[in-house]
């Protein structure tokens, strides 16, 4: 007996493991804690609104209308980069499916040999040679894979991320292979925006004070004080961060590697990924290919009530064959490939 079960369209993002939140039907991907991200948005939008409200009318008239125009462009660029960093997939590696995990386990056991009972088994490490340097690949117990070089497991998002840099609460997402350049452009353009607003605040206060005196100026444009405060504190952190990441990019290192001291030079280990040329390193990180997301978030899942694995990625071929086999047994006529998504033989 085959019952027709109309399954609603379930997209793969709904069943993805890991602690991410998804919006817009899987198009947007962020970490779970978003509080600091909202603060970032508030600070940027708030400060810029104050700038447009208080400084721009005066400066457009007394100095040049190009000033607010450039500020708008810069603000839009900053927002675009921030949203792109926050909403995109940082380079999450999907977890191994059942068969792949078993295959890897068998390989590990074969490599380790017989461990006498009571002794702890040796750590699961695979050595690969990259550009004449031995790099150790660690096994991830959560994702059941050997992490590719430069990948790391983010405990906050509970995912392995390729070319993991760090988890940034200010953007509410991990920074990895796919969104590192947007993150860098965000910090750089934010530095420029902060410097720009700070400078023109000072210019504005000076120009007005010449006419009306310092205290009167502050009374007329109270927003200026707030903006200067925010910009002053932001400057130190954001400009410093931009400088730090510029240094990392020129050496083709990640924050994670820098913190762990992976290529610090002791034991004669050197960074095997660096091209030993600053320009080449920068070009690779900033102008390299745009990697696609390997997490198929918006693909449709095929519901399978007898699926043995809890994470049911599209076992298209295996599942498809089983379906066709069963349908062939029930109806000897030729089967239509389209029907299997809506009928569910039981």
């Amino acid at each position: 007996m085959s019952a027709v079960m109309i399954t609603r369209k379930v997209r793969k993002w709904e069943k993805l493991p890991g602690k991410n939140t998804f919006c817009c039907d899987g198009r947007v991907m962020m970490a779970r804690q978003k509080g600091v991200f909202y603060l970032t948005l508030f600070l940027i939008v708030g400060t810029c609104s104050l700038f447009f409200a208080f400084e721009c009318p005066y400066l457009a008239v007394h100095l040049s209308p190009a000033i607010p125009v450039f500020a708008v462009l810069l603000f839009l660029f900053v927002m675009a980069m921030l949203l792109r960093t926050s909403f995109s997939d940082p380079g999450v590696l999907p977890r191994a499916l059942q068969e792949e995990a078993t295959f890897i386990e068998m390989e590990i056991e074969a490599a380790n040999g017989n461990v006498p009972a009571g002794q702890r088994p040796p750590p699961r490490i695979r050595n690969v040679q990259i550009n004449n340097q031995i790099v150790k690949l660690k096994y991830c117990y959560t994702c059941k894979i050997f992490r590719p070089p430069r990948a790391s497991h983010c405990s906050i998002c509970d995912n392995c991320v390729d070319r993991f840099d760090h988890h940034c609460p200010w953007v509410g997402n991990c920074v990895g292979k796919r969104n590192y350049r947007y993150f860098y452009l965000f910090t750089m353009s934010l530095s420029l925006l902060t410097i720009y607003i700070f400078t023109f605040n000072i210019v504005h206060v000076v120009m007005r004070s010449v006419d009306k005196g310092f205290l009167n100026t502050l009374k007329e444009t109270p927003g200026t004080v707030l903006e200067v405060l925010v910009c002053f504190f932001t400057l130190w952190s954001v400009v410093g961060l931009t400088g730090f990441h510029t240094y990392l990019i020129s050496l083709n290192q990640t924050t994670n590697e820098d913190i762990k001291g992976s290529w610090s030079g002791k034991n004669r280990v050197q960074n095997p990924y660096s091209h030993k040329n600053i320009v080449k390193n920068c070009c690779e990180v900033l102008c390299g290919p745009t990697y696609p997301s390997v997490l198929d978030r918006r693909g449709l899942m095929h519901e399978d009530s007898v699926c043995s694995c809890s994470i049911c990625y599209m076992h298209h071929h295996h599942h498809h064959f089983e379906q066709l086999q069963q349908q062939q047994q029930q109806q000897p006529s030729a089967t239509n490939h389209e029907t299997h998504s809506s009928t569910h033989p039981q």
Binding site: L97, E284, G288, T290, L324
Partner: protein
């Protein structure tokens, strides 16, 4: 002369015997390359040369996708200037090559692997970590 099996025929009698996973080859860094070493489980099913040829072509295609050349730089700079909104209407170079790869794998499956009771899975469905080769049971061929 062996019978030619249609895809449908093979699927009807198919049961998965085993799966082999071709791992990534990291000797050249983090670029996407797969090991060309011929796995022993496939010895009875397919010619070593044939298999290595498939993997080598895949490696070349992935190298083409990740190539750092003038085209990727121009694409990167143009995208940056438009705040990456250009990708709303244009496909990235990598995505174009991925489509080529999907077509190539489909074609290889149809011509070479399915008649031998094997199936290649596109690595993109496994996070570009492995090339999964499904080995089906050989029931139909031993009639």
């Amino acid at each position: 002369m062996a019978e030619t099996h249609s895809l449908q025929d093979m699927r009807q009698q198919a049961a998965v015997a085993a799966k082999v996973f071709i791992q990534r080859d990291y000797t050249n860094g983090t670029v996407c390359q797969f090991q060309t070493k011929f796995p022993s489980e496939l010895e009875t099913r397919i010619d070593k040369q044939q298999f290595e040829e498939t993997v080598r072509t895949l490696n070349n295609l992935y190298a083409e996708a990740e190539k750092l050349g003038s085209q990727s730089y121009i694409e990167g700079c143009l995208a940056c200037l438009t705040a990456y909104t250009v990708f709303l209407c244009m496909e990235t170079h990598y995505e174009k090559v991925l489509k080529k790869i999907a077509k190539y794998i489909q074609e290889q499956n149809d011509k070479i692997y399915t008649p031998r009771g094997l199936l290649l899975t596109d690595p993109i469905e496994r996070g570009l970590r492995v090339v999964e080769v499904t080995i089906f049971e050989d029931r139909s061929l031993t009639r």
